[in-house]
């Protein structure tokens, strides 16, 4: 069972190197992360992007990229299509986002999944490592679906449960968030919570459990609880997966890592492998950790599938 990002980097070293395409590593932080990941033995990179820019930043971080496959491409959608295409044709195990917005990758993956007829929905999981919690916690969907309806939420949960199982959580707990309060009309997100809980109980979401309650208060204090002091809060109760009601909520909360004592690592699991989704503002240490996660997930997927 993977309990921390340290476990992830240890395993990545053990299972690597895996072939990974980086989409537009055109700034120093991304290139430094690729360099370190290669040095650590996680990956064998394929670099796709603006040749001039990649050369410049590689030189700046002291990385000789002449020895790797490099594909010159300036159009961002094409960069993304090329990388995802190689993942789906089995030429490589992992793709990592570089300095391009997630929406390009989202489009490429949707097209590729539809071509492959997998029926898989695309969603992003942002994993947090939280001190005092003995497992990683996935916020989802933090990157793709703007306002997922019930059907989309079912698919988003299935993706997260799949990842949870890969990480070694046999029956992941899922918190379905809704801002339903004691007043006002019933919110769609609360209706979805009730339906998802029923569906999970009936086994319709696979091996997982939707926990009772729709807010962090419910999770940590109980649905009728009150907090007397912060000391009474036991973070160990944090579920493995937090399903957020919409993209704004997921993305805004998962990036609290810049403020809280947590580490973040984001990825998408496609039917053909992992795609690392670091934020364009992430620093090289964080990106390196996210690449390591991609390696571990890819390794475990290969074993599942083949």
């Amino acid at each position: 069972m993977i309990r921390s990002l340290e476990d992830v980097s240890r395993l990545a070293k053990e299972k690597g190197p895996k072939k990974l395409a980086v989409l537009s590593p055109e700034d120093e932080e991304f290139m430094r992360a690729v360099k370190r990941s290669w040095e650590a033995g996680y990956i064998e990179p394929v670099l796709i992007g603006d040749r001039g820019k990649m050369d410049r930043v590689a030189e700046k971080v002291g990385f000789d990229i002449g020895r790797f496959d490099t594909i010159e491409e300036n159009d961002r959608q094409t960069v993304s299509d090329l990388g995802i295409g190689m993942l789906f044709s089995g030429k490589l195990s992992i793709v990592s986002k570089g300095q391009i917005p997630t929406s390009y990758i989202y489009r490429s993956v949707i097209r590729a999944e539809s071509k492959a007829g997998s029926g898989m929905t695309v969603s992003v999981m942002s994993l947090w490592e939280i001190p005092g919690v003995d497992h990683l916690v996935a916020f989802t969907d933090s990157g793709v679906n703007i306002k997922p309806d019930f059907k989309a939420k079912v698919e988003i949960i299935k993706n997260a449960v799949f990842l949870g199982h890969l990480l070694g959580y046999p029956r992941p707990k899922i918190g379905v968030l809704s801002s339903q309060r004691g007043f006002g009309e019933m919110m769609p997100s609360f209706r979805d919570y009730k339906s998802l809980r029923k569906l999970a109980e009936a086994g319709g979401l696979g091996e997982c459990e939707v926990v009772k309650g729709v807010s962090f208060s419910d999770i940590f204090l109980g649905t009728r609880g009150r907090m007397k002091s912060h000391e009474q809060v036991d973070l160990a109760r944090t579920p493995h997966v937090i399903l957020v009601p919409c993209l704004d909520t997921g993305n805004i909360i998962c990036k609290l890592d810049l403020f809280l004592n947590v580490k973040r690592c984001s990825l998408t699991v496609t039917s053909k492998g992992a795609v690392c989704i670091p934020a364009r503002s992430d620093m090289s240490d964080s990106i390196e950790g996210q690449i390591a996660m991609g390696v571990v997930v890819a390794d475990r997927m290969e074993k599942e599938v083949h």
């Binding site: 700034d27 932080e29 917005p101 929406s103 939280i130 703007i146 968030l177 809704s178 801002s179 309060r181 004691g182 007043f183 006002g184 919110m187 997100s189 807010s215 962090f216 208060s217 940590f220 204090l221 609880g225 009150r226 907090m227 007397k228 002091s229 912060h230 809060v233 973070l235 957020v244 009601p245 919409c246 993209l247 704004d248 909520t249 997921g250 993305n251 805004i252 909360i253 990036k255 609290l256 810049l258 403020f259 809280l260 004592n261 947590v262 934020a279 364009r280 503002s281």
Partner: protein, 305 residues
């Protein structure tokens, strides 16, 4: 500028006159923060309900030796009615939810005819004490408004600016949050944020400055923003965070409270007097601070909401 809750307590005391706090159907767990604020000398509780039961509850608690008033009333509907009319008529300065259930309380407070609305819109603001940067930060709306449109967001900002002014924020910097920092027509929060940002550029919010859309990394960190090619006085230095809607607001504040163990206090703005709803994720300490915050607002009172 008020940069800690300790200063808020000091300012609460500076009014000289004790603020009268209306508490309908008080329960035992309300006593700790109320007694403490009474002992610190900035409030007098008006406990509304069954006199005998309230006296029994006070028993030997610290409140027993302090000044308080009991207003006799029957069931919780009646205690709430009394509390609201005392507040509206100026016999109470601050209203607490007390032991009334949230639905009854909020409906009564927000009732257009018989409630406590001052202007067009009431909103809830969470005040955070951030030790790392040594200042208080506001997050709004984290409780009241579900899916505000641009008109409502403008009023939410104005309510928050009223409080920011009382806290001595001279030129408040506001981060209008969204999932991404680029304007994307299919993500409505980015459109609203962009419009508010443009309005502030045209000085429609006075000296306050709104930047948006900002995703959380850009809002929290100047370095992160710079890597995304974004230069602004707000990035890494916001005084007020405006959330796009309640799904984000209500969970964001709780994520901060639980994962960050951050002290917060919340208050309803846009009402004739400060109103404090009873939210589960506040500690006794936080509830004491809320009373101080409300008393401070009441002291400086002119521009509440």
């Amino acid at each position: 500028m008020t940069s800690t809750f300790k200063e808020t307590v000091k300012e609460a005391k500076e009014g000289g006159v004790k603020k009268r706090i209306a508490v309908p159907s008080p329960k035992k767990h309300h006593m700790e923060p109320i007694s403490r604020a009474a002992k610190e000398g900035f409030i007098t509780p008006l406990l509304i309900g069954n006199g005998k039961a309230i006296e029994a509850m006070i028993g030997n608690s610290p409140l027993a030796s302090l000044s308080y008033q009991i207003v006799e009333a029957g069931n919780s509907a009646e205690t709430l009615r009394t509390a609201i009319s005392l507040t509206r008529d100026g016999q109470a300065d601050i209203l607490l939810q007390g032991g009334v259930d949230q639905k009854t309380f909020m409906n009564a407070v927000l009732d257009v005819k018989t409630g406590l609305l001052k202007g067009k819109l009431a909103s809830y603001v969470s005040v955070l004490q951030l030790h790392q940067i040594g200042k208080l930060v506001l997050v709004t709306d984290t409780f009241l408004n579900n899916f505000p449109g641009i008109v409502e967001k403008q009023l939410i900002v104005e309510n928050a600016l009223g409080l920011a002014g009382l806290l001595g924020m001279d030129q408040p910097k506001i981060a209008a949050l969204a999932a991404i920092e680029q304007v994307n027509p299919s993500i409505s929060s980015t459109l609203d944020a962009a419009i508010l940002s443009k309005m502030s550029e045209r000085k429609q919010f006075g000296k306050a400055f709104i930047e948006g859309p900002l995703d959380m990394d850009c809002a929290l960190s100047q370095t992160a923003a710079a890597r995304k090619g974004l230069q602004s006085v707000v990035t890494g230095n916001a005084d007020i965070y405006l959330v796009p809607e309640i799904e984000t607001g209500y969970q964001l504040i709780q994520a901060i409270v639980f994962f960050g163990k951050i002290e917060t206090a919340g208050i309803i703005l846009g009402t004739v007097k400060p109103v404090i709803p009873d939210l589960p994720f506040l500690s006794d300490e936080d509830r004491f601070i809320e009373l101080a915050l409300a008393a401070m607002i009441s002291n400086k009172g002119v521009s509440h909401g």
